[in-house]
Symmetry: C2
Subunit: 275 residues, 2 copies
């Protein structure tokens, strides 16, 4: 596996790259969910590029940018084992040199839920992925379902600005107890970790109740009661998978989404009904 740290190195490699290229952007601290994205990309393309870049633009004031986990040596080893061809791991200055001032804003799709709790977050995500796509120039972009709103934002970015690539959403990988894999799970203390899988159980129960015909708000309240202390619910909702606008019932092409705080750590999870 090649390592590139500058846009110029990446571009030089890209000029000689095979005709189908998959791209897996990450913030590092890789777990099985990320590796699954890489393996999936590997199975569909002649070459795969992964990036590891902790993007300051998508962290708000008081968020965990400084303490966000970093382990480039470990990430490199894991990605090489999945058959990734090139790892792009640029410095912050390489992506945002002195004077950088451009932003890509996808509009209302990034305003609610994570966007409401983290103002500017999705503008940061769209800006960095929009830029990386220009240099990697992949045919296929792979994103994890776990970050459902992010996946919707990136699909909208690609569609609205007519990037010449497709976006594949890869299903969430879970621990055996149902907890969605996340780089932030390592922040959880023992009690929080024990309670965290209740986020997933809550989502499944919410869907079960809706499918059984319970009224929406009653189902939501009943399901929310399953979230275990010290978990505190931020939201439990049903949204259109394209626009991320709230829905008052399950329907085709929707996400059932939830976020909860366990101590200082916010965890996300969702169920997707693509058909």
């Amino acid at each position: 596996m090649r390592l590139a740290t500058t846009l110029e190195e990446l571009r030089a490699w890209r000029r000689e790259a095979p005709p189908t290229l998959g791209f897996v952007p990450t913030m590092g601290a890789l777990h099985e969910g990320h590796l699954d994205l890489a393996r999936f990309a590997r199975s569909q393309n002649a070459a795969v590029v992964a990036s590891v870049f902790v993007n300051p633009l998508q962290f708000g004031e008081g968020e965990d940018l400084a303490r966000y986990p970093r382990d480039l040596a470990g990430d490199r080893e894991k990605l090489a084992a999945t058959g990734v061809d090139l790892l792009f791991a640029p410095s912050t200055e390489e992506i945002y040199p002195q004077g950088f001032s451009t932003a890509i804003d996808v509009g209302a799709i990034g305003d609610d839920f994570e966007g409401a709790l983290r103002p500017g977050h999705f503008r940061g995500v769209a800006t960095v992925v929009g830029k990386l796509l220009h240099v990697v120039a992949p045919q296929r972009l792979y994103v994890g379902q776990k970050d459902a709103q992010q996946s919707a934002v990136l699909r909208k970015l690609v569609r609205d600005l007519a990037y010449d690539c497709s976006v594949t959403i890869v299903p969430t990988v879970r621990e055996t107890d149902g907890l969605a894999m996340s780089s932030r799970n390592r922040y959880l203390d023992e009690r929080e970790r024990r309670a965290a899988p209740s986020l997933h159980r809550m989502l499944r129960r919410f869907v079960e109740l809706l499918k059984a015909g319970e009224p929406f708000e009653i189902a939501r309240t009943a399901a929310a009661a399953l979230l275990e202390a010290p978990g505190e619910l931020d939201y439990l909702a049903c949204v259109d998978a394209e626009s991320f606008t709230p829905l008052a019932a399950l329907r085709a092409n929707c996400f059932v989404i939830a976020a909860a705080r366990f101590g200082r750590t916010r965890l996300l999870d969702n169920l997707w009904f693509p058909q």
Copy 2:
């Protein structure tokens, strides 16, 4: 010359296009300035794409979107004569389909001068050119010097987001009396048209006085007096060519810029000192 009206047609053509491609985006109503861009692109590339798209995003409320001159048949003929290979002339719905909500904002470089007088204008310019670049995928983008701030905005767009193309600024083409060619010149009545070349004379005088060592504000006041009625000055300034921040003296890599209203028509002009 091929005509494409959809992104899909353009993309299909692009896949078979020669290895070097120049791109000339326009809003139509073509004059010699535009054709010069096309001829210049023709001389440097194996193939040339021009676009004609009156971009609603870059017009403000109360601006001349509805009455902006349109002449696709005439434009088509003129472009074919310069050797353009493909003309892209999409509908508004093709570029901004229902639900479109993404914007590219280049930041402070678009806030002053034209940006201050036309809020959102440069966001509209950056968004449409940013999108067209994804579909045309040229090696070289050609823009006219006459719209100096626009040229700086587009250079910043390409640099900040690492688009894989260069930006060439092509010198302004002028009428024999010095008036910079512009699609808006046709709005001028006889008296306005007679006064309009004084905009260019004012710019030249300003530079002459600065070069002669006159203090900046004195030179500006003296030069501004050359603007003939009914012309009303919006601004006469000296700016850094990259950042478009105001300067208090001539120096390498700067634009001397001016805008004035002649009746309902605003005209721009500038002199460029690239070295």
